[in-house]
């Protein structure tokens, strides 16, 4: 399992290495995932066989490896590794491997059984591997990011649907590790122990959070954990790029790509990532007006990139639906009823139940909310309340509450059924961003 995991990481890193220069290892890894997903979709549209596609990926990786050796030959291993070996890094690495191994054991003991995982994401994974033709594309209106990378794992593990799921916790944990690494790089002089403990708490929460019949977001095959992670990375990178002394284009671009790809993880990702994008840019405009106007051209270009990325799954779905022999009879009105928003009696009727689920889920996610509360209390001061970070936190929290509330007001499904089957998953999609806030607030320093 460890060898396969290393192989996955290296493959995606080498893919990312082709595009990114002077970026962190894990940043390249994540861009590698995006490249893999986009090229797999393209190869499917071109009617290419999966084996041929993987062959191309292998060749690209070999070339990228040669390129990497040539570029990094002088600095390779020599000094950097020694510098990075210390107690905290060693402890975190061991903890990381233990969590991954524990997830692997869990995967081995619990077969692939989660409903949506089988019906949508795994079904799509099989489609990618067998590539039977676009007219057979399962559930075109559902995004394909997880299934595309799962197909690679499925291929490596010789179609073992149980073991192949290891790719999900692996990506999840590496994402949280990337956040931690970035935080350590940006806030160099802050308390490393507090950051490390917070990192471990978040890692454990993402690893063990379970829902429904004890399915875990980390390995059951559901995509909500992954969506939460990508929103977390996108949010943090864009925020840090804005808050830097000089606007960091590199981080902003990375954040835009990762945030945009959220729409390819789950349909909800489209709405949340768009909202996060607007909230952050509004924050940028309101509090850093000069920086905003100075970099307007870059922002416009990046916004266009963001728009293109978030619309990929929608355009793909339209195209694939047009190829289908049987047209889907599903209608948007079957899922949502916007007029509900204006029915006062409905608000009164539904408020209590939604609020109850909200509180229950706050309790389920206490591992994140309690440390966040502690941090907030610890940092509580007049200047903190007036800070931009706190205003952003309040703004985002408001959006979170309004989003959840309005979603269940407009739902056309039976409310109790819908709440019981989806509230915890929708709620968890925001946990990543709240984890980012925990990191940001813990590292917040008052300006003297």
């Amino acid at each position: 399992m460890l060898i396969s995991s290393v192989l996955f990481v290296l493959t995606f890193y080498l893919l990312g290495n082709l595009i990114l220069r002077r970026h962190l290892f894990l940043e390249k890894f994540f861009i590698g995932l995006v490249i893999f997903y986009l090229t797999l979709i393209l190869s499917n549209l071109l009617g290419q066989n999966y084996k041929d596609y993987i062959l191309i990926i292998k060749i690209i990786c070999i070339l990228s490896f040669i390129h990497f050796i040539i570029i990094k030959y002088d600095s390779f291993i020599k000094f950097k590794l020694k510098k990075k070996i210390n107690f905290i890094n060693f402890f975190i690495s061991v903890f990381f491997i233990i969590l991954l191994t524990e997830n692997y054991i869990d995967i081995k003991l619990y077969t692939l059984e989660a409903g949506d995982a089988l019906a949508y994401w795994f079904n799509k994974t099989k489609y990618f591997l067998y590539s039977p033709g676009l007219e057979h594309f399962p559930k075109p209106d559902y995004p394909n990011f997880l299934s595309s990378i799962w197909s690679f794992s499925f291929y490596i593990f010789e179609k073992d649907y149980d073991q192949s799921r290891i790719i999900i916790p692996l990506v999840l944990f590496l994402g949280i590790l990337l956040i931690f690494q970035k935080i350590r790089l940006i806030f160099k002089d802050n308390n490393i122990y507090l950051n490390s403990i917070l990192f471990l708490i978040i890692l454990i929460h993402f690893s063990t959070y379970s829902f429904a019949a004890s399915y875990r977001f980390s390995n059951s095959g559901y995509v909500d954990g992954l969506l939460s992670l990508f929103l977390m990375i996108g949010f943090l990178y864009i925020y840090l790029s804005i808050n830097n002394e000089t606007f960091n284009k590199k981080d902003y671009f990375f954040g835009i790509v990762i945030l945009g790809i959220s729409s390819s993880i789950k349909n909800e990702g489209f709405v949340i990532s768009t909202a996060v994008f607007f909230i952050l840019n509004l924050y940028f405009y309101l509090f850093f007006k000069k920086k905003f106007t100075d970099n307007l051209n870059i922002l416009i270009v990046n916004s266009l990139i963001f728009l293109i990325i978030i619309f990929i799954p929608i355009l793909l779905s339209f195209y694939l639906e047009s190829l289908k022999i049987t047209v889907s009879s599903e209608n948007i009105a079957d899922f949502i009823n916007v007029s509900n928003l204006f029915k006062i009696d409905l608000h009164i009727e539904r408020f209590y139940l939604i609020f109850r689920y909200f509180l229950i889920n706050c309790y389920y996610n206490l591992e994140i909310f309690f440390p966040l509360l502690l941090i907030l209390l610890y940092k509580l001061s007049l200047s903190f309340i007036r800070s931009k970070l706190f205003i952003l936190f309040i703004g985002f929290s408001l959006f979170f509450v309004i989003y959840l509330y309005s979603l269940y007001i407009v739902t056309a499904f039976p409310l109790e059924w819908h709440l019981s089957t989806s509230f915890n998953r929708i709620f968890f999609q925001f946990i990543g961003i709240f984890s980012s806030f925990a990191f940001l607030i813990i590292n917040y320093k008052e300006k003297s």
């Binding site: 066989n49 524990e102 054991i105 869990d106 003991l109 619990y110 077969t111 692939l112 059984e113 409903g115 949506d116 089988l118 019906a119 079904n123 099989k126 489609y127 067998y130 590539s131 039977p132 033709g133 057979h136 399962p138 559930k139 010789e158 179609k159 073992d160 649907y161 308390n191 122990y193 507090l194 403990i197 917070l198 471990l200 708490i201 454990i204 929460h205 063990t208 019949a213 004890s214 591992e367 309690f370 440390p371 502690l374 941090i375 610890y378 059924w417 089957t421």
Partner: protein, 258 residues
């Protein structure tokens, strides 16, 4: 507050305590589960055996569609019955609606054709019912000549590269689900026996639909046996095959079973 208490209540100490509590509570249940499962693997699956004499899936599917337009049939596959698989596209059944789960064996076996007419080099079959099959066991007259079948005004050549030795198939574990010995006997009686698996692009296994009262002409074939489970499902969707060569089972809600 004294300095000592302040130090004890520092954020760092609180966080360490919190981490320990989280590890304890989050992993307590997980470790108990692991211990339980490692001791008694699969004991959680209580499955009712599906009555063997019931007509196979079509009946279940027909029943299902009549009763529920919202969902397409839900199948639990596996060796462990745990997974949910969807036939075609659509919503799965909600768990609370499944009262009792039945285990259904994947009935891949020989499907006998009642009306067979033999000529010198040809074999004509007329189906009295609609059949969905995955492959053909054929007894070839002359292995050097091409083998083909003719249906819907179109001739289809059975590609030599896709003809598998029957002995190889017979050795395959769980290839026949019912009447195993009888099926093997029938196949072994073929002199030049080959198995032909229908497939689409990329050798993806598929089922093929023979209509009711349809005439199909086979050339260069002496004897024939059809193979499949009579289900109109693309094999990649539901008739999964994995590296461990498991035979598959399906379960449906009891209300959909006669």
């Amino acid at each position: 507050m004294s300095k000592k208490i302040k130090n004890t209540l520092s954020l760092k100490n609180l966080f360490i305590c919190l981490l320990i509590i989280i590890i304890y509570f989050n992993y307590k249940g997980i470790l108990q589960n692991l211990f339980f499962l490692s001791k008694n693997n699969n004991s959680t699956n209580i499955i009712t055996k599906y009555p063997e004499d019931l007509e196979f899936f079509n009946k279940v599917i027909n029943e299902y569609f009549k009763q529920d337009d919202f969902s397409s049939p839900t199948f639990y596959f596996s060796p462990h019955e745990l997974g949910i698989h969807i036939l075609g596209e659509g919503y799965r059944l909600n768990n609370y609606r499944v009262k009792k789960k039945y285990l259904i064996k994947n009935k891949n076996s020989l499907i006998s054709v009642k009306n067979i007419q033999k000529n010198q080099n040809n074999l004509n079959i007329i189906n009295s019912e609609r059949l969905n099959i995955h492959g053909l066991f054929i007894d070839i007259i002359d292995p050097t000549k091409k083998i083909s079948y003719y249906r819907k005004n179109k001739s289809h050549i059975l590609d030599n590269s896709k003809l598998i030795s029957c002995n190889e198939i017979i050795k395959k574990k769980n290839f026949f689900v019912s009447n195993v010995e009888n099926s093997k006997k029938k196949i072994l009686s073929f002199e030049n026996c080959k198995y032909y698996q229908f497939s689409i692009k990329n050798n993806l296994l598929t089922s093929i639909n023979f209509y009711k009262n349809e005439k199909i002409f086979f050339q260069n074939i002496k004897k024939i046996e059809l193979y499949g489970n009579n289900l109109d499902i693309n094999s990649y969707i539901i008739l999964d095959s994995d590296s461990r060569n498991f035979n598959y089972f399906y379960a449906v809600d009891s209300i959909y079973v006669n």
